[in-house]
C-alpha cells in the first residue's frame, strides 16, 4: 500500500486579535491628528484587500512634527535623566512583548511576510532592541565616547517596507536611549505597525513629541530629511534614494547614517557542512521573500561541489510552502507591492535574456495578490546584471569559483558591501576569508542572523554608519 501524503490542514492565525481603523492620521506631539495632505490606501499584498487609508503628510505637517520633536527635546527629553529614559524604553519593550501577537498579525497583513517570521523573528527582535538600548540609556558615559556624550537633538528617520516595525526599532531605540527625539516616516506601503507603535508610546506614557510618526511617500520623506531644524538623518532603503539624501544633506550640520542596498556573496567551499549550507542558502535568499538588504543573493559555490549543492538546494526549495501569509505553516509569503513584483519580474527576465538558466520551484501561486515563486539562476557570471543589481526578491544567482582567492575576489567585486556568508568546516579559512571580505557583516556557517548587540551596516554603496550594539549609539551622539 503506498503511503498517503501528509497534507497540512490550513492553520491560519486569527486576524481578530488586531483592530484596524478605516483611516489613520499622523502621530504628532502625542496625539493622532488629521493630515493636511492627501491620503493613500494601504493594502494587503496577499489579497489586494484595502486595509486602511493613511495620510500623506504635507510640508506643513512635516514642519509641525519637527517642531513638536524640537519642543519635546528642549523642554523635556534633553532634561530627562538616562535612568528615566531607560524606564520608558523598558516599558515600551514590555508592551511590545505583551502586544506581540497583535503586532505580528498586523505586520503580516500589511507586509505580506509569513506569520512565522513576524511572530518568531521580527517582533521578538523589536522587543530585544528596546530592551538592549534601554540598558544603555543610563550608562552612556561608559560607552567609550568620553565622560558625558551629548545627544544630537531631533532625528529624522526614514525606513523601508521590508521589516517595518523592526527597522523602526533599530532607529527609535538607540535615538531615544541617547537622548534624542524623533520624527519617523515608515514606508508608504507598510505604515500600520508604526501607527500601532504610536499607540504603544501613548500606553507607555512617553512624553508627547518624543516620538512623532508621520506617513507618506517619497515627497514626505524628502521634506523631512531636508527640514532645516533636523540634526540627524537616518535612512534605510535604496542606494538611489540614499545618494539623493546624501546630496541634500551635504553642506549642512546634519549627521547622516545610511543603510542601503546589497548584493551579498554567500560563499560555499567544498568542505562545507552540506545540509546546513543548503538551509543557510535558503535562509539567505528566501527569508522574507528575499526582501532583505543583506540577503545572500549571490551564491558563490566551489566548482567541485556546485552540482551537488544546486541539486540539494532545488530539492529543498521544492518543500517550501508558498501561500497565505497568515497560515502558520507558510514559508514564503507575498511580494510587498505590485511595483516590487514588476521589478523582480523585469530583472528575472533580464537573467533569461543574458543566458542564465532559470529554475523555479513548482508551486501554485494564489490567484489574487502579488507572488513570485522561489527562483534560482545557474550559469550566472559576474558580468550578468542579475549578479550585480539588487533584485530584492526570491531570486538567487549561482556563480562558481575554483580557489579561495577567486572566491574572495568575486565576492568583493560589487559596488555594494553590506554582508557576506562563508560556509566551510575549516576554522582557519573562516577567519582568513572573513578578514578579506569588504562587507559590514560576515556570517560563518549561518546567514541572516540578527542580534541587537551586534553592529550592522555597510561598505561602499551599501552606506555608512552602524546600527545596533555599542556602535549604534555613536550615530545618535555628538561624537566623532
Amino acid at each position: 500500500m503506498p503511503p498517503t501524503p501528509f497534507e497540512y490542514a490550513p492553520a491560519p492565525e486569527s486576524r481578530a486579535v488586531v483592530d484596524i481603523a478605516s483611516s489613520y492620521g499622523l502621530f504628532i506631539d502625542g496625539e493622532f491628528v488629521e493630515g493636511t495632505g492627501t491620503t493613500i490606501k494601504s493594502i494587503n499584498p496577499a489579497t489586494e484587500e484595502v486595509l486602511a487609508e493613511i495620510s500623506v503628510a504635507s510640508d506643513t505637517d512635516v514642519d509641525r512634527a519637527v517642531k513638536a520633536a524640537r519642543r519635546a527635546y528642549t523642554r523635556v527629553w534633553s532634561k530627562t535623566s538616562g535612568k528615566e529614559r531607560a524606564k520608558y524604553l523598558f516599558r515600551i519593550a514590555r508592551l511590545v512583548q505583551e502586544r506581540s501577537r497583535e503586532l505580528a498579525v498586523l505586520e503580516t497583513l500589511d507586509n505580506g511576510k509569513p506569520i512565522k517570521e513576524s511572530r518568531d523573528v521580527d517582533i521578538p527582535l523589536v522587543a530585544a532592541h528596546f530592551f538592549y538600548y534601554a540598558g544603555w540609556a543610563d550608562k552612556l558615559e561608559h560607552a567609550g565616547f568620553g565622560p558625558n556624550p551629548r545627544p544630537l537633538g531631533v532625528a529624522a528617520q526614514v525606513i523601508p517596507w521590508n521589516f517595518p516595525l523592526l527597522m523602526l526599532a533599530w532607529k527609535i531605540a538607540p535615538a531615544l536611549a541617547a537622548g534624542n527625539t524623533v520624527v519617523l516616516k515608515p514606508a508608504e506601503t507598510t505604515s500600520l505597525t508604526a501607527l500601532l507603535f504610536a499607540d504603544i508610546c501613548r500606553q507607555a506614557e512617553l512624553p508627547p513629541g518624543v516620538v512623532n510618526i508621520i506617513t507618506g511617500a517619497g515627497e514626505t520623506g524628502r521634506a523631512l530629511v531636508e527640514h532645516p531644524d533636523v540634526d540627524k538623518v537616518a535612512f534605510t532603503g535604496s542606494t538611489e534614494v540614499g545618494k539623493a539624501i546624501a546630496r541634500s544633506v551635504a553642506g549642512t550640520d546634519k549627521k547622516l547614517t545610511l543603510e542601503l542596498g546589497g548584493k551579498a556573496a554567500n560563499i560555499v567551499f567544498d568542505d562545507a557542512p552540506i545540509d546546513q549550507t543548503v538551509e543557510g542558502i535558503v535562509a539567505g535568499i528566501f527569508f522574507n521573500q528575499g526582501h532583505v538588504c543583506c540577503a545572500g543573493s549571490r551564491l558563490l559555490v566551489q566548482e567541485s561541489v556546485a552540482d551537488e549543492v544546486v541539486d540539494r538546494l532545488k530539492r529543498r526549495l521544492s518543500t517550501l510552502r508558498l501561500g497565505d501569509p497568515l497560515d502558520k505553516n507558510t514559508d514564503i509569503g507575498a511580494i510587498n507591492s505590485l511595483e516590487q513584483l514588476e521589478r523582480i519580474r523585469h530583472l528575472a527576465g533580464v537573467g533569461d535574456d543574458e543566458g542564465a538558466e532559470r529554475w523555479t520551484a513548482d508551486c501554485d501561486l494564489p490567484a489574487k495578490g502579488y507572488w513570485f515563486a522561489p527562483t534560482v539562476f545557474t550559469g550566472v557570471s559576474q558580468a550578468h546584471r542579475i549578479a550585480r543589481e539588487e533584485i530584492f526578491g526570491p531570486v538567487l544567482s549561482v556563480l562558481t569559483f575554483r580557489t579561495p582567492a577567486e572566491a574572495i575576489e568575486k565576492a568583493n567585486n560589487t559596488p555594494y558591501g553590506l554582508s557576506a556568508g562563508i560556509w566551510t568546516d575549516k576554522g582557519s579559512r573562516i577567519l582568513k576569508v572573513a578578514n578579506a571580505m569588504r562587507a559590514g557583516v560576515v556570517w560563518a556557517n549561518t546567514f541572516n542572523r540578527f542580534d541587537p548587540t551586534s553592529p550592522f551596516g555597510g561598505y561602499k554603496e551599501s552606506g555608512y554608519g552602524r546600527e545596533g550594539g555599542r556602535h549604534g549609539l555613536a550615530s545618535y551622539l555628538d561624537v566623532v
Partner: protein
Amino acid sequence: MSRPPSDVLADPGALVDVSRSDATLRRFLHGLPGVDQVGADARAAALSTRSIKTTAKAFAIDLAISMIDLTTLEGNDTPGKVRSLCAKARHPDPHDPTVPRTAAVCVYSDLVGLAKAELGDSGVKVAAVATAFPSGRAALAVKLADTGDALRQGADEIDMVIDRGAYLSGRYLEVFEEIAAIKQVIIDDGSRAHLKVILETGELQTYDNVRRASWIAMLAGADFIKTSTGKISPAATLPVTLVMLEACRDWRAATGELVGMKPAGGIRTTKDAMKFLVLVNETVGTEWLTPDLFRIGASSLLNDLLLQRQRMASGRYSGPDYVTVD
C-alpha cells in the same frame, strides 16, 4: 578533496570497496560532509513549529499509532506484563475498533516466544533487542548467540546495539563487521527478519558521529537505523533524527534502497510525535510515512495519542482513566 558521497552518486558500485579495510572505511566516513550542530539544531527547531491541526492531526495520530513499536525493556518484565502489552498492541483502545494496531511490540529476547504466541496472526510484529542490549558489552559469540536465540523464538525484527566502545576508539571496521555478522545470522536463519541497528546517539554525542555511524550501519546491511536504547539520555532528539533521516535520504540517492528510521526513547506526547512525522515528511518525504520505513519506539506515547484521538472524536478531553494502563 574528494567527496565520497558525490563519487558514490556518480558510481553506485564505488560503495562495494568502502569496507575493504579499516583505512578505506575511515577515509570514506571522514570524507562525508560535516554536520554543523547549530544549523542542524536550528533546522529541527524550525520544523517543530509546524502547526498540525484538524484533519492533518487526525491523520497523523492514526499514522503515529500504526508506527509504534510498543516497548517494555525492564528487568522486572513478566509474562503477565508482556501479555497485556500484546493485547494493547492489537487493540490499543478496547472501545474503538477503528484505532489501528501498533506496528510491533519490542521485548527482550527471552520473552519473544510468549509475545509471538499472544500476537498470533494479528499482523503486529515482534521485535527483540539483542547483542547484549543495552550496553553491547559482550563477546561477539555471545551477541551472535543472543541473536540466534531471538530468531529461533520467532522474532520478526532484531534491534541490535552497535559497539560504541569500538566506534569511539576509531575501530570502525569492527563496528561494521559486527553488524554484518548479525545480518549474516539473520540471512542464514532464513527468517527474513528485519535488522534495526541502534546507534545509541546519546553516547556518540556529536552529529558527525551520528552521520558516520548511520553510514556504517547502512553499509553493513541495516534495514532500519535507530537512535537509542532508551536507557541513555538524551535519547531520540529531533536534530539527531534529522541527521539520521538525511543519511537515509543520501543512502537512497546513492543506492536506490530505502532504509527505515526509528527514533526511540523520550517521545511521550502527541505533540512530540507530530514533530517527528513533520521531520520525516519534509526531510525524506511521503515514501517514508509508513510503518515499513518509520517506527517510533515508545511506551507511554500510545496513551497520549489515544487521549488526543478521543478528544478529536468527542470534542472534549477525557482523562488518564479512559485509556488502559498496562
